[in-house]
Symmetry: C2
Subunit: 337 residues, 2 copies
């Protein structure tokens, strides 16, 4: 039995900011799953900033997408057919699939979705790759200690919102940068951040940070880069740790971005700056999944998803990441058209 | 009994590049040492790039020198009078004193100089603070492993020349950046560097580095900053370590230096960049002193000092650091006028 599907492919590589021309929809039939595969009806698909790197024709930490190939990422869906003993038709699963109505998943790479723990889209956010990124990036690279001041950029995003809450659970003072009043209010009122700075509403990031983090910065979890990071790096405390998770401010730049030099700022505080990729922690993903599920179940980690309806709107949902349209995790609901 | 001395004081704070107006010589009498002090006839004094930071009226990792205060740094000298049981008149010692003919040393901060191990000036270089900086910076921050490619900037300087040799002793491929053919020849012919790049003679640092370090960079020990560091940071291997020891290219800049952004370059290689100050390793200084003395005695670490004669020439010797006049450690011989 074959399944008909629509799927998005990479039609053009972007120059600077991607636009709709980069994406094209095609239709095709998928044959039955081969051994170790699942055929899945996609309910939600994930759009993530790191995907911008895969659109480039150059080596990055993620292999570049080939022109004409389907776009791939995290999905949540319902198993239509399983060629693996661990799954059966009707199961809710998450894994890495295509931007499509129906996709194949590698059963080894898939995991069950338990809707009694959280609504399925959360498995693409706080209970998925972004949550794991927050968990390992903060705890293993940031090494927060009780009483530390932890600053997060992109704090209302899928990763940053979880980072701040884990920092809070570790007894830290948490300060977030985000781009709207709605976001900063969510951070302080709902997520328990100690302070949040709407960078779009302040002229001097450094002065705003001095007020929000008067004792300096012990840990900086960076999702953004650019002038926000410049401000934070100018206020590092002795032995500060900087986890470089993302640099969304620079993903659409064609030229090498320039700015104040970082290295001269690291000597006096003996600061440590480290790039991180969540995939390096794959052997410990179960640990993160368990802890995050406990925290979510207990209400200690609040999650939120911004849902765009319809597979046809997936490119727009992706492009919206670069203008900060999302609060929490941006997902696309594929069940509607 | 009093001792008459000349001594250099900070006369003006520099704007940009320091010049002779920043320094003034005064004369005064020193009284007998108080308890725990040594009065020492200075034989050699050390001039070091970090001293530029102390000339600024702003917080740095080293406390700023006050206007009118004597300039301080490492010295080697002969004890004239000791108010401490561990030393007696005639002993050769090293410690932190003033740019002077005669200076006081804190006996707790002093250490014996053994001229059978190395000529006394080496105690300001490979067997002194620069050697300890190389030892802890490379081994503790750089964490070299056999087979790693280690790149050193300022490689012919007091710190860099020892870094490269310790890396070689650890089974690494060692590449140095230096600014003259004399220096690069010294690195490869005498110190055992695998390759050395005369940055003054190449147009494209990155291409030169690609040739000298074809397998990429595992450890970068940075004494310089600027375009050399930009080139090295663009070729970091997976899990690379960058020890930020000095940034002499930027010490005389009045404005915040700008350049290609560092943070976006760290994610793909998961690189770690860390500022270092040797004083943090004070509890382990004896370990470093012992190892360095063994290596020097065995000829495994070759050291060289560039000696400027005469206390009156100390400012020139210091200023020469910024134009790379020194090969190995720059010292001033004070015994002559």
């Amino acid at each position: 039995m074959t399944h008909h599907t629509r799927e998005w492919i990479l039609a053009e590589r972007p120059h600077g900011e991607p636009d709709a021309d980069c994406f094209a929809m095609r239709e095709r039939d998928l044959s039955a799953p081969e051994s170790g595969e699942l055929l899945v009806r996609v309910l939600y698909l994930s759009v993530d900033p790191y995907m911008r790197g895969r659109m480039r024709d150059s080596e990055s930490y993620a292999e570049p997408w080939a022109l004409g190939d389907p776009l791939r990422g995290g999905v949540v869906g319902e198993v239509l057919a399983a060629a693996d003993d661990r799954y059966a038709a009707g199961d809710l699963v998450t894994g890495t699939g295509t931007w499509a109505d129906v996709t194949r998943l590698d059963a080894d790479d898939a995991a069950p979705v338990d809707p009694t723990v959280a609504d399925p889209p959360a498995y693409l956010g706080a209970l998925g790759m972004p949550g794991r990124t927050a968990y390992f990036g903060l705890l293993e690279v940031g090494e927060p200690k009780p009483g530390d001041t932890v600053v997060v950029s992109g704090a209302a995003g899928a990763v940053g919102s979880v980072v701040g809450q884990i920092a809070r659970l570790n007894g830290c003072r948490v300060v977030g940068f985000a781009g709207t009043d709605e976001k900063t209010e969510w951070l302080t009122e709902t997520l328990g951040f100690d302070a949040a700075i709407n960078y779009a509403a302040v002229d001097e990031y450094r002065a705003a940070l001095a007020e929000a983090a008067p004792d300096g910065v012990d840990v900086y979890f960076d999702n953004v880069g650019g002038p926000i990071s410049d401000a934070v790096l100018s206020r590092l405390n002795r032995d500060a740790r900087v986890a470089v998770c993302g640099q969304i401010a620079h993903y659409n730049e064609e030229e090498t971005p320039t700015g104040p030099r970082t290295l001269p700022r690291l000597i006096a505080p003996r600061a440590r700056v480290q790039g991180l990729l969540v995939t390096d922690y794959a052997p410990r993903f179960d640990e993160a999944a368990d802890r995050l599920a406990e925290w979510v179940a207990a209400g200690d980690v609040v999650h939120r998803e911004t849902v765009v309806d319809g597979l046809s709107n997936a490119p727009d949902a992706f492009l919206g990441l670069f203008s900060g349209d999302n609060v929490g995790k941006q997902v696309v609901s594929v069940s509607s058209s």
